[in-house]
């Protein structure tokens, strides 16, 4: 049953892939037959408000993005632990719930620290 469901997923994957690719193929075919693409230096230049693009877009970004990503990662991992807990929650003892509360609070502490430290202030 389990592998059967994976097979379904695989079919869905292939279907979605086909759904994504088919129109692109069709468009490509259309272009091949009727509207030959004519790329050229100006047309295929980077758009920048009608001006020639100055400098590169691939510059070094700011670490603020990274900080958010770290906190996100940690909470994502937390969710991985929270979900089994939540599933089992209805049958758990108060002690177990307390343990989870401690788990959550530990992470919240990290969040609060980050908040206080100004990590969550997007400059």
């Amino acid at each position: 049953m389990v592998s059967g469901s994976y097979f379904s997923l695989a079919v869905l994957f292939l279907g979605a892939l086909g759904f994504g690719l088919a129109p692109l193929g069709l468009a490509w075919l259309w272009a091949r037959v009727f509207a030959p693409p004519k790329p050229s230096a100006i047309k295929n230049a980077i758009y920048e408000c009608g001006l020639e693009s100055r400098g590169d877009a691939w510059v070094q970004f700011r670490s603020a993005y990274y900080l958010y990503a770290i906190i996100f990662l940690i909470f994502d991992v937390e969710a991985v632990f929270l979900l089994p807990f939540a599933v089992a929650f209805t049958g758990l003892t108060a002690g177990a719930c307390l343990a989870m509360l401690v788990f959550v609070l530990l992470l919240v502490e990290g969040l609060v620290w980050a908040w206080a430290k100004g990590v969550l202030t997007w400059a």
Partner: protein
Amino acid sequence: MSFTETKAGKFEGWNRPPVIETSDDGELLEVSMGPHHPSTHGVFRMDVALDGERVVKLKPVFGYLHRNHEQIGQTASYLQMMPYTDRLDYFCSLTNNWAYALAVEKLAGQAVPERAEYIRVILAELTRIQNHAAAVGFLAQDLGASGTPLMYAFREREKILDLFESLTGSRMMCNYMRFGGCRVDVSEAWLNAARKVVAGVPRFVDELEALLSSNEILLARCQGMGVLKPDLAVNAGVTGPMLRATGVNYDLRKVDHYGIYDRFQFRVPLGEHGDVYDRYMVRILEIHESVKILEQALKEIPAGPIMDPKAKLRGFKPKPGEAYGRIEAPKGELGFYLISDGGTSPYRYRIRPPSLVNLTILEDMCLGHNVADVVVIFGSVDIVLGEVDR
């Protein structure tokens, strides 16, 4: 001076834009915003350097709509320039007309009949209402509202444009005022239509305010944004709602007593913080005040001629001399400086555009803010490129 320091950084010297220290974290991203950009209100361009999303350098670039207006003014006759003034600030052709007519009347010493003065006031205030409504709508558009406030603003603007069209013949380029009066007379039916439109304005403003004024997103994005200090504003020659939003009480309708504004009871709303929200609110409140003026003017308008009988359309040659006429246009002080050498066309025809001068401190207001805020601050200045570049 109190404004040598801002939230964003420190001013270098007396009245230069602040110098923002860039963090060494991340590189600067140099972006040109404009001339084709959805929210530069035309073909304005800002060369921006971004530190993350924070703007650390901003250089406005003008001239993408420089249509040699002043040069044409030196070759065309005085009358011929009237339709060109329509195309300066193309939202407010009638106030442009008035400013130009005022300057020429000053230059030639012409009188304007009373009825014409009333008509001028009515049209100017209607213009102010539709300009402010559109400005608020565009500001909301810059804030990212998907058109709804702008649609409402234009809904109201269309009503006013209908009035303009039925009087002057054109929706936008009215070419209505003449030296010494106005071109055609208003009919009683028109006045009634105008009364109806004016009566509907407060309801529309309430609607717009319900949509925007207390919206938390708008509050968060506008309050404390692009703060302009009064002394810098004065020094930079900022005029109009932008100046009054900083708290400086300077309204040419009250200061210069031009036209017949002395006869009307109205107040000048003043801001306190000089931020985007104040500019927005001052515009909203000015609409209310304009409605008051309009109600009085529409009630009191006398009968009489609309043109000075001595006025001349063709072959108009003022004596050599010069005059600077200015009015309170919806965007600020609109001045015309004319030098006559006695010929049929001015020797020098100069426009003092409020939009251009109001942009002087764009850099100061924007530095240190987000890209998104730059768009909003820029929108709150309310410029029209036709006037900036001329």
